[in-house]
Structure formats: C-alpha cells, structure tokens
C-alpha cells in the first residue's frame, strides 16, 4: 500500500519534475565506474542510470561497496576508472562544491551535524549557503527575515518545530538524523543521497524518517537515492532497487523483479530470511 501511495504522489509531483524528466539525457549516470583501494576493488565496473524524480534504494550485504558508490557520486572520492555524469554534465573530476551547486547533496552513515548549535542554527548555515550570502560580513533586516522564514519552513517540513531551539548534540539520535536531512534539504537538493537514514533508530523514529523521505520525494520533488538495510523500508517505498554485491551491480529493477530474482535471493535476501 505504501509503495502505491508513493507512486501516486510521484505522479502528482510530476509537473514539478517535468523539465528534468523531459531532458534527453539520464539524470544521474555512471559509466563503467571502478574504485580500487590497493588490491581491493570496492566498486568494480559499475554502470548505473537514474531518472529524475525517482525514489531509488541501493542495497547489498556489508562490504558490497554501497558507501564507496555514494562517495563517488558526491565527490568525496575520485573514481579509479569510468565517468560520472549528472544532468548532462561530466562531473567525474568536479569538486564537491560544484556538485552541490548542481544539486547533489548527501547525508552520512555517521551523522554529520553541528553538535553545539541549535536545530535553528544548523539549518541557518544551509539556508545562508543556498542564498549565496555566506561570505557577507553583515546582514540586513530584510535578508534576516527572509532567512528566518525559510528556516522555520524547513523546520516545519521535518516536524521539529517544538525542538527548534534545542542544541542538536543533546537531541535523541533519531532527531539528529532528521536534522541532518533538514540541513541537506536547506541547500535545495535535486538529488538527495541518504546513507542509511534509519540506522540505529527505534521503531517510531524509523517511521518518522520513512515518512519524511517519502514526503521529500513527493511534496518537494526531490529525487532520492538511499542506502538501506531494512528490507521492509526498501520494498515499502523504493520505486526501483539497485543491488550491489562485491562492488558489482547484481540486479537492478522494480521491487517485484528484485524480490523474484534468484541471484539476489541467493546472494542476499536468502541470508536475511
């Protein structure tokens, strides 16, 4: 049921994503990408396509190369071979800042936040970055009001209004992860990369995060690529699933196809069940 609502929501959000979807090139494309660490091939000759407006999961056993895969897209690591193309531009050798400016924004497996600052202040940095005013040594009243309004808006989207003034380092783990997503959202992503968004969360926290990811995709028109270990979540919300195993793409397709794939069942799902 949840997958169906996500599909419907994506359909209603389609007009927003239309200019991207209508383009002749794929939104995100990786062409024969490899990344070696010494003799280890963490990502081995991976080719990958993702359309604009997709909500896609990346799954695979530990050590399958999922996080390395994210590092190659977000620019933390350069590939040893191959090309990464985003929205028609070859970004293989481009900086992190350039990729963020193009709309590729990520979160991390281990939460990266500004621990001694409040939720409001964490998001403020992102909003000021998005407005391109980071380097300004003063701020006018009008600008300040606009910035604050946008922060309040983002805090409302992630349902943290009652915790806006709390210090992030003192919040529960689940809330910290939500703050990280809100900060990522504040710079206006077109492609959001979420590395295990529900890792280490309790049931209600997980539910909150899953609902948030689904809403970002449907209401905000953000394309989402996420790594996840919880199969209920993956099969509950992903429109497509890419399975990595030992650095290679084992399978790629809609959930029904993945759950029926004998190779996937043998390599991965079989172990989980």
């Amino acid at each position: 049921m949840s997958a169906a609502t996500a599909h419907e929501a994506a359909a209603t959000a389609a007009p927003m994503a239309a200019p991207q979807a209508a383009a002749a090139w794929p939104f995100l494309q990786m062409v024969n990408v490899s990344r070696r660490f010494g003799s280890l091939k963490a990502v081995d000759d991976v080719s990958f396509d993702m359309a604009a407006g997709e909500l896609r999961a990346v799954i695979g056993p530990n050590g399958a190369g999922k996080t390395t895969f994210f590092n190659l897209i977000s620019g933390l690591l350069p590939p040893s071979q191959g090309r990464v193309i985003f929205d028609g531009e070859d970004i293989t050798r481009r900086s992190i800042a350039h990729r963020v400016a193009k709309g590729i924004v990520r979160t991390f497996q281990i939460t990266e936040i500004l621990p001694d600052l409040s939720v409001f202040e964490n998001i403020r940095v992102g909003v000021e970055t998005a407005r391109g005013i980071n380097a300004r040594p003063w701020i006018g009243r009008g600008e300040r009001i606009a910035v604050n309004r946008r922060i309040e808006e983002l805090i409302a989207i992630v349902n943290l209004t009652d915790k806006a003034r709390r210090i992030v380092g003192e919040l529960a783990h689940g809330d910290q992860r939500v703050v990280e997503v809100a900060v990522a959202l504040s710079v206006g992503p077109r492609l959001l990369l979420l590395d295990e968004p529900t890792a280490g969360m309790g049931d209600s926290e997980t539910e909150h995060m899953v609902d948030l990811v689904r809403r970002l995709h449907s209401d905000q028109g953000v394309s989402v690529l996420f790594i996840e270990h919880d199969m209920d979540i993956v099969f509950g919300i992903a429109q497509r699933i890419t399975v990595l195993d030992r650095g290679r793409v084992l399978a790629d397709g809609p959930p029904e196809q993945i759950s029926a794939d004998p190779q996937v069942r043998a390599a991965y799902l079989g172990e989980a069940e």
């Binding site: 800042a97 980071n134 380097a135």
Partner: protein, 312 residues
C-alpha cells in the same frame, strides 16, 4: 540580570573606571592595558573560539601593530590617528598575506605554522636593529595630542584611557556584527564540523583565511594602542610567550563566549600586576589560578553564564 542589563552595567563601570579604579589601589593605565589586551584577545578569539583554529602566534600581529605605530611616530609623522591606522594596516596585511599558508592546516599543524610565522617576525624585528632598536626595543617616540579642528586634546593618562575605550567600543561593535552575520555563522560551522560544511558546497579554507586576516587586523589595532600606552614597544610584544598568554587569557575567561576573553584578561592582568609587586614567582600563582579555573569551569569563567555551559 538580563544580558542587556549586564552589558549596560559593564559599560557604565568602564566609563567610570578612572574614578573608581584608584580607590581600590589601581591606576588608569592598568585599565587601558586591560582594554587593549581585551581587544587583542577578543580578536584572536574570532579564530580560536569561533572558527576553531588554534592560532598560537597571534602576538606577532600585536607586535607588528606596535612597531608600525611606533615607527610611524618616530620616522614618518607625529600623528596619533595615523600611527594607529598605519600600525593596524601593517599587522593586518601581514596576517592577510600569510593567511593562505595557514588556512589549509588543521589542529596541531595550524598551531605549529602560526607559531613558526610568529617567531619569524620576532627574529626580523630583533635582527633589524638599526631601525627597530633590536633587543632593546623601540623607544624615542611619544603619543601626540589629538587635533580635532581647533580643539586640541592632550593625551593624558585619563584621556588616553578614553581613546582606548572608544577603540574598544568600535572593535566590539565590529566583532559583534561579524559574529551575527552569515560570515560569522560560517566560521562557527567550520569549528563545529568542516565536513558537513564542505558537503553543503562551502570551501572552508577561504573563510578560515578571512577569520585569520580579520583577527590579525584587530590584534594589530590593539598592538598600536599598546605601543602608545607605554610610548615604547619591544620584541617581547611579538614573542610566542605573549601569544601563549593571550591563549591562556581566553581559556580563563571562556573561548565560546563573546566577552569571555575580557574576563580572562581582567583576571590575568590584574593578578599579574598585584602578584608581581609581591613576589618574583607571580607566574606560579597565575598557573595555579589557571589550573583551578580549568578544573572548576571547563568552559572558562564566563561559561557559568552560558546557556550551553555544562560541566561534564
């Protein structure tokens, strides 16, 4: 007391200082020294406390400001405002030019390179003794009366104190505005988590450079006033020992709070002044005070007023 009331009370105390300080055994020049060091340490704290860069060579810019002001008066023009302006530019530009060497370093490497650069300036001043006076320091200049149209203000100790208070007020206004600005927010974010900022598309190095350069200008500004206070400046004003004292003052007062360094300076300078008249081993007592404060108030004395202060 609310924050505004505390700050108002502080300003009233500073304005009235020439009246009350002598009553408790102090003297006006001591007040000037406290405010001058407060400007220097609050400037340094932009890098240390707010950007998270361990700058351990800040005295270099303080001293360059002092020599810039002294040499202006001695060799160029007998004008106090010009001496302050030129000294500030000399120290500030030195920090600006060297910023790119510093901005990519982190943690202990940031500390090492800032100390090394600081010592470099120290040796230049010591060696270039025909101009700087070498080890003996630069003397033979004096602060000049200020001419405002037809009005001449003689810079007596009390009037000079008010000039310093005016400079302190300007420096505080500039630093406060900076920390409320997007630039200031970016500095704090760098201190908190560089990687998060990088993945928001920000290149932290440039902002560290800006922080280091601005801190350099403010510390140099304080250095010019220091030279004018004593009509003298020496290589000790650039030495790493003074850099270390600046850091100690900041840690004493609280490096996470805006006015923390002022509190630290008061404790340090007053303790130094009183203790050194009692014993040659005054540094031992400063050390003892330092240890006690670090143990009792890990976030500095000002930390007790900070909403975020927590003793773990």
């Amino acid at each position: 007391m609310t924050r505004a009331a505390t700050i108002a009370a502080m300003w009233i105390a500073l304005i009235a200082l020439p009246w009350w300080l002598p009553l408790i055994g102090g003297y006006t020049a001591l007040g000037s020294k406290v405010l001058i060091y407060a400007i220097a340490t609050m400037g340094l704290n932009l890098v240390l406390g707010f950007t998270g860069g361990l700058s351990f060579g800040q005295a270099a810019y303080f001293g360059l400001g002092g020599y810039g002001a002294g040499m202006t008066l001695k060799y160029l023009v007998p004008s106090t405002p010009l001496a302050i302006l030129i000294g500030t530019l000399v120290g500030g530009l030195a920090a600006t030019i060297l910023g790119p060497l510093v901005m990519r370093r982190r943690g202990i490497y940031f500390a090492m390179i800032t100390i090394a650069i600081g010592q470099l300036f120290y040796f230049v001043i010591v060696r270039w003794n025909e101009v700087t006076g070498g080890e003996d320091g630069l003397a033979g200049f004096g602060r000049q009366d200020i001419h405002l149209g037809n009005v001449v203000i003689p810079l007596t100790d009390v009037n000079f104190y008010y000039l310093v208070l005016l400079c302190f007020t300007v420096a505080v206004a500039v630093m406060w505005t900076l920390l409320q600005s997007p630039l200031g927010h970016t500095w704090v974010a760098i201190r908190e988590n560089r990687r998060r900022l990088q993945f928001l598309g920000v290149r932290p190095e440039r902002y560290v450079w800006a922080s280091f350069a601005i801190a350099g200008f403010i510390t140099a500004f304080a250095g010019t006033l220091n030279a004018l206070l004593f009509n003298f400046t020496s290589p000790q004003d650039l030495h790493w020992i003074l850099s270390g004292d600046f850091v100690i003052m900041i840690v004493l007062g609280g490096m996470r709070s805006f006015f923390g360094p002022l509190i630290g300076v008061i404790i340090f300078v007053v303790a130094q002044d009183y203790l050194s008249s009692l014993t040659d081993n005054w540094m031992t007592f400063i050390g003892l005070i330092f240890v006690l404060i670090v143990l009792l108030f890990p976030r500095g004395v000002f930390g007790i007023f900070d909403r975020r202060a927590k003793i773990a």
